[in-house]
């Protein structure tokens, strides 16, 4: 139980996917302009991450039992791409309200390194099924936390007078540096709580 809690804290704070591992920077910079789009994107990412992990875990077991582990990269990315497409089609047909809320973000997720990243990390770290699921969920939550926090920061930036040469992406990146710096303060929290 302790380990699951540690995984959760790691995904949320110390090993945050965006601010510590640099996975999923494109949506972080691109979709975090407004709070509602940031929240929608995060929800879609959490959903797809958990689903991708659930699907890729048995596939990886199959690959490893047949000495095909070197095919992981190809198989995982194809499975994720197919999964996202399938999900979009099913949502469009049977779950209209959910599709309206999350649907527009789904195509963006296919080539999102955060989703493929979490699947590969689970495999590399040798997590078992429940551990993988918790890790993916935590990574998704951490992604959401960073997105939503940063949407607030960007709202503030827009109301300020910024030096002309820093306008646009440069100031956004510097702001991201400061948010990332504040997350550095969580370093050691897991060891401190005696979870690891």
């Amino acid at each position: 139980m302790k380990f699951y809690f540690a995984l959760l804290l790691m995904g949320l704070l110390t090993q945050n996917f965006i601010l510590a591992k640099f996975l999923g920077i494109c949506p972080f910079l691109g979709v975090s302009k407004k709070l509602n789009t940031a929240a929608g994107m995060s929800a879609a990412v959490i959903f797809v991450m958990c689903l991708a992990t659930a699907v890729c875990y048995p596939i990886n077991l199959f690959l490893e039992s047949h000495d095909l582990a070197y095919l992981q990269t190809i198989v995982f990315i194809l499975v994720i791409a197919a999964l996202v497409q399938f999900l979009e089609t099913v949502m469009k047909k049977y779950m209209k309200p959910l599709y309206r809320a999350l649907g527009i973000y789904l195509p963006l997720i296919t080539t999102n390194c955060a989703v493929l990243g979490v699947v590969i990390l689970n495999v590399d770290n040798g997590y078992n099924f429940p551990q993988s699921m918790v890790n993916s969920f935590a990574a998704g939550l951490g992604f959401g936390l960073a997105m939503i926090l940063f949407a607030g920061v960007r709202g503030r930036i827009e109301n300020n007078d910024i030096p002309k040469f820093m306008e646009g992406l440069p100031i956004t990146l510097v702001a991201a540096a400061l948010v990332s710096l504040s997350f550095l303060g969580f370093t050691g929290i897991i060891e401190g709580m005696g979870l690891m």
Binding site: L19, A20, K21, F22, L23, G24, I25, C26, L29, G30, V31, Y70, L71, Q72, T73, I74, I77, L78, A81, A82, I104, Y105, P107, L108, T110, T111, N112, C113, L116, G117, I120, L121, D124, F165, M166, E167, G168, L169, P170, I171, T172, L173, V174, A176, A177, L178, S180, L181, L184
Partner: protein, 259 residues
Amino acid sequence: MNKRKKPLYQEFTKGIIKQNPVLRLVLGTCATLAITTSFVNGLGMGLAVIVVLVCSNVVISLLRKAIPNKVRIPAYIIVIASFVTIVQMIVKAYIPVLDQALGIFLPLIVVNCIILGRAEAFAGKNSVIASALDGLGMGIGFTAALCTMGLLRELVGAGTIMSGLQSLLSIFGDHVLGGFDGIDLYEVFPALEKLSFEPITLFLLPSGGFFTFGILMAITNRIAEGKGEKKAELHDCGSCPMAASCRMKPEEEKKEESA
């Protein structure tokens, strides 16, 4: 195919500075931020991306008439993933140091938007030679940006220049470049230590990555503006591989805002 009739060499040169994939088109930011903690890592990542980009551009360009339009993205992904797997195996076998340094970002070249972006925007529409040159130019542009960032972060964050270069080049033999293995500023200038001058480790941490990238982008924006070009922006749907299936087009966003 090429309506503008640009000379072929321009396909090569445009990617290096004018349309630099990292600093002008803002593609592949994840890898850029994550692995540029040293010059050598940046160079290694850049070389891996050049190989994948050139090979996948050539193959996709060869297959451009055979791939049906509707399934082109999955087809591109398969081609790219195959080359990434090959590069991954080569790096694991011959340069294990680099494999450890790049870690998860080596397999993640698959989802690096530079490669899929070039396949979609260029290789799927142009001849083989033009596509190969385009891939090479873009790859060199990417490598140059990574090396610059790596150099800066390493210098400020660790006080070394190009340290560990020998282990990356060991694939070519033991004494390439006359055994040059980087410079340690503390060895060259012992005075630094006496003054208790310490490197700013923060620059090696994630936060320093964001900061360096922001400053570099501000500088390139400034230079580009001086030449009358527009700023680098993320919402450049033309370069995004998902533009075809994506409904987050800029116009719609504006409509959404006004509603």
